[in-house]
């Protein structure tokens, strides 16, 4: 899989998105991450591994506890991809606005 597919595959799961949301508030352990979920710690570890392979999270290398932390830079590719469509809609909506304004003016003039 290319990088973008790996990123979106990792994001295409509510548990993994919830894990990312938790990590956006700060680093933590697997044990702590698993607590709010109704699944085993090994099952949560598997989700973390998918996020790790997509480069979205990693275990810290220093310190004895080696906490899991978010790697937000890995989201840059996905963000850039979506940004192009945001520009498209921005432009389209601007043009729609101009069209509606023009139509309204013509109706008033009638």
């Amino acid at each position: 899989m290319d990088n973008l597919s790996t990123t979106f595959y990792a994001l295409a799961d509510p548990t993994r998105r919830a894990i990312l949301a938790r990590l956006s508030r700060g680093e933590t352990t697997l044990s702590e991450l698993a607590r709010p979920f109704d699944m085993t710690v090994p099952a949560v570890a598997k989700h973390v591994r998918v996020l790790e392979e997509a480069g979205l999270v990693r275990r810290g290398l220093r310190g004895p506890t080696r906490p899991i932390r978010l790697q937000p830079r890995a989201l840059r590719g996905a963000h850039q991809w979506m940004e192009r469509y945001r520009e498209f809609w921005d432009t389209s909506l601007d043009r729609l606005g101009a069209y509606l304004a023009h139509t309204a003016e013509r109706q008033r003039g009638r």
Binding site: M1, Y9, T29, L30, S31, A34, T40, V41, P42, A43, A45, K46, R49, V50, E53, R59, G63, P64, T65, R66
Partner: protein, 174 residues
Amino acid sequence: VADSRALLDLSVVREYPYPIDVVWEACTSTQALVHWFGREHAPAISFVADIRPGGAWRACLTRGETVRPLYVSGHYLEIDPPNVLVFTFRCEGDHHEDGPGVETEVTMELEALAAHRTRLTIGQIGLRSAESVGGHQHGWESCMDRLGAWLRARYASSTEVGASRVKVRRGQAT
């Protein structure tokens, strides 16, 4: 289409008729681990460990007199008593089905159940082939059977577990 990598993990579950503290101790004491770590045909003959986050562990598994022993090792990532133990796991040398130096991650979770029973779930992630998943799955199943047998031999029943623990505490106090 599912990502094939997502399938390459294993999880084995067992329930033991012993309180969670007893099972936790069996998973975090080298004196206990040496008795149940390793499969029936390749049991551990030594287990050395510095059981704290970042600490290293190493076990020597014997596979009969004619075959060289296998060393497995790693380091502890998380220790959250009496529920969660996470450590890295790799086979030293060229023994691993996935090639040398493949580091995997093992998670042990203990859950206290009713009537002083404990559920142990062992998961391993990072294996790279169906063959190694099968091999490690059998390995952990055998380990967990051996853990059950060791607990049975050590404590005849869960009521005696409580009694022996009280005795130990008294012994330490005097």
